[in-house]
Structures are given as structure tokens and as C-alpha cells.
Amino acid sequence: MFDVDILRESIPVIASAALVTIQLTVAAAAVSLTVGTLSAVLQVAGGRAGYWLSRAYVSLMRGTPLFVQLLVVFFALPLLGLRSQAFFAAVLAIGLNSGAYVTEILRAAILAVPRGQVEAAVTIGIGRLAVWRRIVLPQAAITSLPMLAAELTIVLKSTPLASVISVTEMTYAGVLIQARAFSAIEVFVPIAAGYILLAQVIARIARMLERRFEPLRG
């Protein structure tokens, strides 16, 4: 039933593909956090134009499947004169998709920062940009840490979709092995375990950070 030889042979392949999954997750998370932060700030403080720009972005990303977004980005890049690299396209699509959710997470946390704290900064003469950078965003980040960690886990679990544009990440590597070895369990059980492991790493880091910020709470 369970072929240990197939397991033994597939593990190194899966492990190297796991590296691609990790790179994809980290890079997409970086895009997501950057775009999400900008978009959240734009929505709260960017005037009418900023508000609508951010809303349109969020609606577009939340209203279409990531699967479709991956295809659109992959095939649209050459139209913009960029050589379409599958990995780059996947980072962009997954990052932009997740950024819409990060926008909403951070927007809520930004609005939860008491107005008086901004007023205190203003009376001291701290500039608008520094108020965001030093007072509002750090607090919003701390407040939304659990939500951001959850979002990062979703990013991780979205990466298999990148296989549709031929990125050989962990799941796609499994599909390729399965096609040769004609056995699924020996391949996909360790892959599932791999995702659990990575998700655990994210959860651990988040919990560590939360503990670090414990003294800030009453």
C-alpha cells in the first residue's frame, strides 16, 4: 500500500520545491504588506481621490478569483513590455490580491488608534508623515498582528495556485512526481505536512511578537 521508496525519493524534490514556496510566500507577503499599508493610509487620509482609488483596488482584488488574477498578470506583463517571468508574475498577483485584505485589516486598526494620540503629536509639532510613521502605523501593526499572521498563512496556502502559470512550487512538484510514480498518498501527505510546518513557523513568529508587545497592554 504505502510505498516507502517513493516517499524517500520524493522528499528531496519536495524539499527543494518547498524553498520556492517559501520564497514565493515571503516575496508576496512583502508586496502585500507594502501595497496594503499604502492603500490603507490612502483610504483613510488620501482625500477623495485616494479613498476611491483604494476602494476600487480592494473591490477589484476581492471580487475576482486569485486564479484569474494570476493568469491576467502573467499574460498582461508582456503587453507592458516586460518579459513574463512566472515567479515574478506569481509574486505580483498573490501579493496584490492579499494586499486588498491587508488594506482592510490595517484600515480597521488605524481607525482604532484614539484621535487624542494624533492630537498630542500635532500639539508637539510632529509632522504629518512622522505621525503616521511613528505613532499611528506602529500601533495599527501591533493591534492587527493576529489578523496579519492569519493573512500571511492564507498567502502561504495560495501559493499552489501559481502552478497554473508553471511555477514549480511544492504542490506542483508533487503533481509532477505523482504523474511519474502513479502514487499520490506518498507524495501529498508529506506535502501537506510541509504546509503545516510552514504555517506553524508563521504562527510561532506571530506569537513571539505578540508576547514581545505584551507590556504595552494594560
Binding site: 484614539p114 494620540q117 498630542a120 500639539t123 508637539i124 509639532g125 509632522g127 512622522a130 500601533q139 507590556p215
Partner: protein, 280 residues
């Protein structure tokens, strides 16, 4: 030419929709003067401070700090134009403000709260800011709490940190907006003690407060407000002994009468109520 007042508001008016919260208020505070603003809730006291600090620029009227009009700047050719953001920031940093709800930044330590302005606004090096910050915390009796986060401090300690934060910017005027109203009665004293020490050192202060005893003790002048206007503006000793206005008298009677034997508040007549009325 006489020296301009430390801060002066002229014709300050604040409207929120149809409501006029501040109705053409004139106020001037000289350097080193301590002014307490008294008055019933909703009389416009806090709005006055918010206008003076330009947190909410007034609907009409002007605020001058040391002769310079807030929100305006004078060009080299003598014309006056709306102030640039940087100029306004500088103007604001000349006025310190202490809030009822402290408004400390919870993600920074006590010292971090005090040094933030020095680093961000004054552009001072972290080490210099640290030295000054520790001095300020020592001045409010909290040198040992430098590394504590606000959540681990009592209300009174938090308010003292907030005072140190405002003092660190070396403001020309300190505005206090009901600084003890959010505190446990037992913690009010430590904050008032710091404020009294500041008053003794002739720090220019405008204090909106319900602490009549503090006002009587520390203020040079009392500004009494009602209905968005200044009803009476008098030296403290005169205000508390022989207020000129009927409205001031009534306010004092209600707030201090009990202590001074001015009058005894009428107890409501409950004789018609039987004990059983309280039972459900």
C-alpha cells in the same frame, strides 16, 4: 513698545453647524502668568484651549503667540500669507498641551514619549534627547519609571509623563485641559503638586479645571466662562472673595458653598416617598 502677551486670542469664535460654542472670546495671558479657566460643563472652556493651540482653528478670530499670528506667516516683503505646514508645526511647538485623557503613546516607554518630539521636531540626537528626557521625568518625580510603558503606570503617573512630554519641548505656554478630571481622587494630588511647582516657577499656564482649590491656590487670574463667553476675568483673590458678576457668584456658591458656609444646597423633599417605594 510693550512686550506682547505670551498668548492672546482675539474674537475667538467657534461654530459647529448651527451651534456657537465659542462666541467672540478675547483673552490675553502675560509671560509668567497662571490663568485658570472655570465654568460649567459645555461653557466652551475646552474649545477655547483647542482654538488657542490651533488643534481646531477657530471659525473666526486670531491667536497670537509672542506677537506672531498662528496659521499665518509674514514674508520678507512684509505681506502676510497662510503659514506653510512646517511654519505651523513650529508655531504649534511653542504651545504645550496637556489633555484630560493623557493621550500618551502606548507603544513608547515613558522616556520614549518624552523624547519623541525632541527627536522628530527638534532633530536632536537620541543620546541628547535621552539626557533631557530623563531630566524632565525627574522634574515630575518619575525618573525611575523611564522604561515603563504607559499601560504599567497609574493615571497620575501617566499624566505626569504627559506633562514632562509637553515640558520637554520648552514651550512658551502650557495649556492644561482638565488635567485631573480623569483621575482617581487619590491621584489628583500628585498631578496638582507638579502643576503648582510649575506655577511657582512662573511658567505661563492656562488651566481649564474643576479643581477650585487649585485655582484659588495657584492662579494669578481667573477667567470664568458660561455659554461660550467670558463672563468674568479677574485677579484670583478678587474673584473668590468678591466676584463682580451674579453668574460667577452663583457658580461659586454651588461649587464652594458647602465649604465656605455661603449657603446650604436644598435637600430634595422626599417626605412623600415611603421606604416601600424603593422596593421593586
Amino acid at each position: 513698545m510693550s512686550t506682547p502677551p505670551a498668548i492672546a486670542g482675539r474674537g475667538l469664535t467657534m461654530r459647529f453647524g448651527p451651534a456657537t460654542v465659542l462666541d467672540g472670546v478675547d483673552i490675553a495671558v502675560a509671560r509668567g502668568e497662571v490663568v485658570c479657566v472655570l465654568g460649567p460643563s459645555g461653557s466652551g472652556k475646552s474649545t477655547l484651549l483647542r482654538c488657542l493651540s490651533f488643534l481646531t482653528p477657530p471659525s473666526a478670530g486670531a491667536v497670537h503667540v509672542g506677537g506672531e499670528q498662528l496659521g499665518m506667516e509674514t514674508k520678507s516683503d512684509g505681506t502676510t500669507v497662510p503659514a506653510s505646514a512646517a511654519r505651523l508645526r513650529h508655531q504649534r511647538s511653542r504651545i504645550g498641551m496637556v489633555f484630560q485623557s493623557f493621550n500618551l503613546w502606548p507603544h513608547l516607554t515613558a522616556l520614549g514619549n518624552v523624547t519623541e518630539g525632541l527627536v522628530q521636531v527638534r532633530g536632536e540626537a537620541r543620546t541628547d534627547a535621552r539626557t533631557q528626557g530623563l531630566e524632565m521625568l525627574a522634574a515630575v518625580g518619575l525618573a525611575d519609571k523611564a522604561d515603563a510603558y504607559p499601560a504599567r503606570l497609574s493615571g497620575g503617573q501617566q499624566q505626569r509623563v504627559a506633562i514632562a512630554r509637553a515640558l520637554a519641548m520648552k514651550p512658551e505656554i502650557l495649556l492644561f485641559d482638565e488635567p485631573t478630571s480623569a483621575l482617581d481622587p487619590e491621584l489628583v494630588g500628585e498631578v496638582l503638586a507638579v502643576m503648582e511647582a510649575l506655577a511657582e516657577r512662573h511658567t505661563t499656564m492656562i488651566v481649564v479645571t474643576h479643581e477650585i482649590a487649585f485655582a484659588a491656590e495657584a492662579a494669578d487670574r481667573i477667567v470664568f466662562m458660561d455659554g461660550g463667553r467670558i463672563v468674568e476675568d479677574a485677579p484670583a483673590d478678587r474673584f473668590f472673595t468678591t466676584p463682580a458678576e451674579e453668574r460667577s457668584w452663583r457658580f461659586l456658591e454651588r461649587t464652594m458653598g458647602r465649604y465656605l458656609g455661603l449657603s446650604r444646597p436644598q435637600r430634595p423633599d422626599m417626605s412623600g416617598m415611603s421606604r416601600h417605594d424603593h422596593e421593586v
